[in-house]
């Protein structure tokens, strides 16, 4: 009996695997009996923050973590043409032709899907570093819709976007209420809340659904997934696991990633010993200097030095940094070195869609012998 049960599990597992990664559009060509053709599990594997459900002639986009501690899922119907769905929730016509994005992480995803020209507005365009999109800014096709986090509602209404892709810590922006009243759908993108690098990258499928390019999004993600898993396998070959510290002091408080956070997951996948790997939480820890020094004085690597990109800047901010072995051994690295023409940090823009590069960077730095010919892209040593 036990054996049979096992066999059954393997079989169903195999079937599940077969259907993994299939997109709505692939499926929609087939004859479908059930109303709901495919469960979300099949479309989204790693990301926990959203689901895509395919129905016969429409899709349902469910954003489960639009912002931290949200109590309700946000649901949208994505329809082509005039479709009666019978569901009384917000409907967005796809493919979306004119959209406004609000985070630089949205830019590369649009570009990969060949849809950057559908982007008509962005707040604080200075922070966009990608050349392709920068060309649109200088060409006047892309309007700056407000500095900082405050969106200029008037300009947005005048632009008449099909949808606004928002991100934020809550839904309290007054501009959102105004825009909704004017019939502009607001869809929250919670990519930054994902705890795993692949989960974050998978948000490309969110854009795929909106742009009606599910198949393309899916194939792009498959490549990322494959490369990431490969890099992880390479890291597993390492014989030693160097210890890692992270973060800097801000106001007597040392901020560093918690044990279940995105960064901690990356460090784990790079086969390193992140000193706070056992701590609880997905956000960051706020510790004091003494406890960090006690724990990490002898750490091998210091990954992520906040805003500081030079050793002297670190020391000027706080002389105590010199007490760490990683600092003395010139093993302090930062992701913030590469900047775009407007001062935007490339890592912030590109890391979500290039988790494999980030992982390889980490592997190269912490286990240089495993990737002899690789040149890190994001992760640079402080000079």
């Amino acid at each position: 009996m036990k054996h049979q049960a096992h066999l059954l599990m393997i079989l169903t597992g195999g079937l599940l695997l077969l259907s993994l990664g299939q997109s709505c559009s692939e499926k929609s060509g087939e004859k479908m009996e059930a109303v709901r053709t495919e469960s979300s599990k099949d479309l989204v594997d790693y990301a926990k923050g959203f689901e895509i459900q395919c129905f016969e002639n429409y899709k349902k986009l469910i954003v489960k973590s639009p912002y931290p501690d949200s109590e309700q899922d946000h649901e949208y119907l994505l329809t082509r043409g005039d479709v009666k769905t019978g569901e009384g929730i917000e409907t967005i016509q796809i493919p979306v032709k004119r959209l406004i994005a609000t985070s630089t992480t949205h830019i590369p995803m649009l570009e990969v899907l060949g849809a950057e020209e559908r982007l008509i507005g962005f707040p604080n365009t200075d922070f966009i570093s990608s050349e392709r999109t920068r060309a649109l800014i200088s060409g006047g096709q892309l309007t700056d819709i407000g500095k900082d986090m405050s969106l200029n509602a008037e300009m947005i209404i005048a632009l008449k976007p099909d949808v606004l892709i928002a991100f934020g810590v809550d839904d309290s922006d007054r501009a959102f209420a105004t825009l909704r009243k004017n019939g502009i759908p607001i869809v929250f993108n919670g990519d930054w809340l994902e705890e795993t690098p692949l989960g974050r990258a998978e948000w490309i499928k969110f854009f795929g659904a909106l742009l009606d390019q599910d198949a393309k999004a899916d194939s792009v993600f498959k490549v990322i997934e494959q490369e990431y898993l490969e890099a992880r396998k390479i890291a597993e070959r390492a014989t030693e696991t160097p210890s890692l510290m992270s973060g800097v002091l801000f106001k007597d408080q040392w901020n560093l990633p918690a044990g279940e956070s995105f960064a901690a997951n990356l460090y784990r996948d790079a086969n390193t010993d992140y000193l706070w790997k056992d701590s609880q939480g997905q956000g960051s820890l706020v510790l004091n200097f003494e406890s960090v020094l006690e724990k990490a004085a002898d750490a091998d690597f210091w990954i992520g030095s906040g805003v500081y990109t030079r050793r002297e800047d670190l020391l000027e901010a706080n002389g105590h940094y010199a007490e760490f072995k990683a600092f003395q051994n010139h093993s302090v690295y930062t992701f913030s070195m590469r900047k775009g023409p407007g001062g935007g940090i490339l890592y912030y823009e590109l890391a979500p869609i290039k988790p494999h590069i980030v992982l390889k960077d980490l592997v190269k730095v912490t286990h240089p012998e495993l990737l002899p010919d690789y040149e890190p892209f994001f992760l640079q040593k402080l000079d």
Binding site: K147, D148, L249, F250, K251, D252, Q253, L285, V286, L287, N288, F289, E290, S291, L293, E294, A297, V307, E316, A317, N318, G319, H320, E323, G343
Partner: protein, 343 residues
């Protein structure tokens, strides 16, 4: 005679409490270091762990010394302002002098990026930041001083102080809007300064500037007593009003400016400490009140810092949260009992 004896006793007690608190502050922290090891480290012996020795000698000790300088400096400048304005609610934080110091630094760090990079080279040193902060403090202090001559009402002056800190905050946010991301970062990181990030060499600079402010103050301690009875009285006993006032203004802004430059704006100590001191003493002679207020301010600051470190835990609270918990109730209490206030 008996009263002066009492005052001596009070000051001695405060001093002893301060010494005790100093030891407590150095002994407690998030890392649990045995008392023997702490003494060992201070007395220059070999420590069991190298990090322990570093934490005691180069983190906790400078932090405790910083707390003493900050606490006593703020308390003294609070006392001076209360006498000068003849107003119990005067204090560096409440009257917007600390915000003025922040504005000075913002103009230096952010303004240079708006106006071009020429100033940026200079702006890195602590000395420059201190000077900018002192100038900012001096500017706001003078402005409040001028306004307060027109308004005798305590409440109105408080509101004026509030307006000045809002004004400073507004100017800073406008500057921030136009300045580059990089200099904004510099400013943000400065603005949340703390007691714990000074090394011994930075502390030395701090100490020297502190001493200068103190020296400026010494000649005006005696005339301060006559000021308590009003400017007219002070004039009638032959006091050089202008010179005394200028010296006090200068010294107060230097205190506030330097402290703000090194440790960021710290709330309410300057207001609360002098009042609590005066409650304990039965004299208003500045030769007694001033040193007592300095000691007591240092004591409160050390206690606040010890609490903020939350001994035994890995976490730490913002120091301003603690000092505000101390200070804000005192402001309310003062407003409620205003009629019975003794200056």
């Amino acid at each position: 005679m008996r009263t002066s004896g009492n005052n001596k006793l009070v000051i001695t007690l405060i001093f002893l409490a301060l010494a005790l608190m100093f030891l407590v502050n150095v002994s407690l922290g998030s890392v649990n270091i045995p008392l023997g090891e702490i003494m060992n480290a201070i007395l220059g012996g070999e420590s069991e762990k190298e990090t322990w020795k570093y934490i005691v000698l180069n983190y906790r000790l400078p932090k405790a010394v910083t707390a003493i300088l900050v606490g006593s400096g703020l308390s003294v400048s609070g006392l001076l302002m209360q006498t000068l304005f003849r107003n119990p609610l005067a204090g560096p934080y409440v009257l917007g002098i600390s915000s003025g110091a922040s504005l000075g630094v913002a103009l230096l760090l952010l303004g240079s990026s708006v106006a071009g990079g020429s100033l940026l080279l200079l702006s890195t040193s602590h000395m420059m930041v201190s000077i900018a902060a002192s100038l900012g403090a001096f500017g706001v202090l003078t402005a409040v001083m001028l306004v307060s001559r027109q308004l005798k009402n305590t409440m109105s002056i408080l509101i004026v102080g509030l307006m000045f800190s809002s004004l400073s905050a507004a100017v800073i946010s406008v500057l921030a809007y136009f300045s580059s991301a990089e200099s904004l970062q510099r400013y943000t990181f400065w603005g949340f300064g703390s007691l714990g990030n000074l090394t011994w060499s930075e502390l030395l600079v701090f100490g020297i500037l502190f001493l200068i402010a103190l020296l400026l103050l010494l000649p005006s301690i005696k005339p301060l007593n006559s000021l308590l009875l009003g400017e007219n009285y002070a004039k009638s006993v032959g006091m050089e009003m202008k010179r005394t006032r200028n010296l006090i203004l200068l010294s107060t802004s230097l205190f506030t400016g330097v402290i703000t430059a090194f440790s960021g704006p710290i709330a309410f100590i300057g207001l609360a400490a002098p009042h609590l001191t005066k409650l304990m003493l039965n004299t208003s002679d500045h030769r007694v009140v001033l040193p007592a207020a300095a000691l007591f301010g240092a004591l409160i600051m050390l206690i606040s810092d010890t609490i903020a470190q939350m001994p035994g835990s890995e976490y730490t609270l913002p120091i301003n949260a603690i000092t505000t918990l101390f200070g804000a109730p005192i402001v309310i209490w003062l407003l409620l009992r205003k009629r019975r206030m003794v200056l």
